[in-house]
Symmetry: C2
Subunit: 558 residues, 2 copies
Amino acid sequence: MPNIMTHGLTCLQRRDLERFGARIGHFGAHFAVVDAEGQILLRHDAGRFASDTEAVVEAGRAVCEAVRDRAETDDEGRVWRFCDGHVLLAAALCLPCNGPGCVRLAGAMVVDLGAEAPSADADAMRVAYLSEMMRLAAQGLRDAVRNDEQMEKMGLELAQVYEELVLLHKINTHMKVTESDGTFLQLACDSLTDIVPVEGIAIVLERMVEGERRFMVAAGSGLIDLSPHMTAVLHSRLAEDIRRGQEALLDSEVDTAFRFEWPQSVRNIIAVPLCAKGPQEARSAGRVQNAVAIIGYMVAINRIDKPDFDSTDMKLFASVASGCAVFIENGRLFNDLKELFVGSLKALTNSIDAKDQYTRGHSERVAIISQWLAERVAERERLDSEQIHRIYLAGLLHDIGKIGVDENVLRKNGKLTPEERECIQRHPSVGAGILRGIKQMQDIVPGVLHHHERVDGKGYPEGLTGREMSLTAKIVGLADSFDAMTSKRVYRDAMTVDQALDEIRKGLGTQFDEKVGTIFLESDIYHLWDRIQGNGPSAYGGRHLADYGTTAVGTLLR
Amino acid sequence: MPNIMTHGLTCLQRRDLERFGARIGHFGAHFAVVDAEGQILLRHDAGRFASDTEAVVEAGRAVCEAVRDRAETDDEGRVWRFCDGHVLLAAALCLPCNGPGCVRLAGAMVVDLGAEAPSADADAMRVAYLSEMMRLAAQGLRDAVRNDEQMEKMGLELAQVYEELVLLHKINTHMKVTESDGTFLQLACDSLTDIVPVEGIAIVLERMVEGERRFMVAAGSGLIDLSPHMTAVLHSRLAEDIRRGQEALLDSEVDTAFRFEWPQSVRNIIAVPLCAKGPQEARSAGRVQNAVAIIGYMVAINRIDKPDFDSTDMKLFASVASGCAVFIENGRLFNDLKELFVGSLKALTNSIDAKDQYTRGHSERVAIISQWLAERVAERERLDSEQIHRIYLAGLLHDIGKIGVDENVLRKNGKLTPEERECIQRHPSVGAGILRGIKQMQDIVPGVLHHHERVDGKGYPEGLTGREMSLTAKIVGLADSFDAMTSKRVYRDAMTVDQALDEIRKGLGTQFDEKVGTIFLESDIYHLWDRIQGNGPSAYGGRHLADYGTTAVGTLLR
């Protein structure tokens, strides 16, 4: 049995009905549309109905009630004849509405033919023709409504697809390796949920941390349970569905019961995989050439505006997820390369530091101290993060020129000969020479070349004064001295931090730049001390410092 | 005046007209549709026309001709009355067709009412009602055609947008930094022209070669003039249009004359820019933070299936081009980083080589010789390109352990003391130790550690035999010896190539691996000699060798 609803008429429907009224007006008939409540929705009689309005309203309402109560909507073509002095014809105006088999009763068309015709034949003829015309008019209206519906549906689909197009375009144009994971993945989530509204969305990535699988929420919004347990469960359920040939995990209690047990708040859920080429081991062993690994997934719960996620949603999720996977893979490769580079620089500077047992780890410590000091300077004056990163690298590479200095000279316990002194004092120039050969390192050169200059002009190799020295050289020079003083040397024990600070204080304005030195002395040195001893809070611990190096390398590229 | 065309009826139109015929059959009227050539397109009379067929055909044809000749299509509602014993009503069936104001004459509806009614009044009434019903039927048909057209148009648009969606998805998923420029950009061109057919398409990139602007065709297909002159002209015209606030360059002679002069073959042309962040100088100077530079463009000529490129095409071109620009920028950054890394390795190995004036450039030459030899080996047995690249890097880094060896020992002219010999012989272990600290360098370690081993077990540091040595160690060891022999040393002049080859021949099976040594001796050594002297053909010249290093570094990442 069809579902009958009552609604008014649209402007276009009124217009079509008014035209029909005008048409049958030529045959001396008057026309009205009356709804189930007895309201006259429109009339075409120039304001003067041949019969009294009450009879017309009564006929219309009677037909509406008959149709509604007896569910006679399938009898679409039925025309009722009323005769009470005047001849009235009435037919229900049943229009299709959303959903198959659903019609709505817009009202009843009532045609008033006036007094009965002189002959019964003529009357029957008039009634037959007008009834047929009413049927044609009702049919036309139904066709128009069906068409409008189809057009509206296609229009909505078109609008949706255009939105999807804009989304993919947006993802395309943001897929830059310089964009951070967090920014890009959040953009993907936000743009996706602009089109597919949900109560919660997240991107979860799998990471190996100390040989253990961990799931990390990389982006997302809304209410969604992402406990470590839930993220792992989701991953394994999705992986199982993918193994079975599905493209996504979909589960809801809309049509059937849930396949899996979910937290109370979940009504429906979708998860699509982020895939990348197989893991390193499988590939290098040459066994699996194009193996695809699930590196994470995008999950969303509780579709808004629809009872469940449908196949259109799924395709869009899958498309966005594959873009995210490509982005993450690009970022991973880029980062690996930066790590490789920084790792190589550290390995080499360490091997140079290792020529003298007392300077082991010196270069990395000077890098960390230089960065710390640059950050403190940045709190007081303009110094952008790119410059801070370059100061870090200048610190790391400041002794690279010692590559050419004899170990025995470096380790010598006792006074150096003039030749030995000259040999050691060549290391800033040698280092600068090495870096000058590398296009992207140009900005690092002055920091390396001048880290043994003094503001009083008594340094080497060029005897620059403070006004001629770059900020980088002043910072790296101070960092170098601080680490040297606080490290054990062949000719003396390590100073305490306080002793070293005293020495720096004494050297302000002669060996060290007043401003830079003062900033250093006023900073929280013990915090720095923890950092370079590797005892700092985890935020400043190993991972953070390693990231710092890769970020620093990134700033060498433009 | 509308443009009238004659065509048949669609299935749905026939069905609607047959239904109408059945309807008026209830009133004793017979129905037919006749086209301009007098063909009966359909009839509803159960095979027995009350009037003779000729009269019906004649009436239909007469109406068709009247409408066609007198262009009375605007009089859509006109019904002709013919009376030749039988009363015939005929009306033209003018249906909308593609394009505004365009109608086509599908034929004429003919209604046969049979003999005239007994009374003139009754006859007039019948004629009036049936004429009105014919008008309603014709109107319904016209509405249906208009709807079908709109639906078809939306359907085509929808199909197009879906194709665009698939295109952007494809571009998304291929935007990997590991994909080569050529492959990706060609995919972009091909996928785009699958949707937007054109006679020619190309992606042109601007490159600075020795300080000069050059335009390089990076991908494309079809007939399109891409002479150096044309690519430069296109670039400047596009840049001018972009400066004026346009999103693209569009030019055609469809509506107006060309704005620019183009080669004869061009009927219409589109060019969209590939944009990236501004050039290095502008950005580092801090002047232009988000300056956008045109790094190239995508151009296409002669739209197929449409008179000209339209705004939909333009948006799609712009979207694909922006994806290409992001891809190129990512690739450039990735490549810059690889170059930076390789450049740094070379700078450092050079600085180590420079400790001994006679080994200047040694590491890079050994890398080139090792690569050459590995390529020759690959011609005879399975050796994939990743391995060849790693052999190159092992060659480059084989002496990295000399970082810790005293210059005076390296340069010593005369017999070494046992301590000095021990010091020098430590360099493979020191080098391997440095590289072991770098995760991605593990595969390089054995080549560096064992490059002074001999197949007869008399080498150092471990005294391995040929069966225990890796292919890399055998190759790098031979390359190292060949370069040492052909370079001047403090204690002797350089050998000629032939002398060096003789030495290698003598050492086969003792110092050198038989198979590797034989492959080397049988190769085109003078070609290699040109390469390491930097006199080779340009394909093996500077640029090629530099690319080789960056590719090699790429293989360290997975």
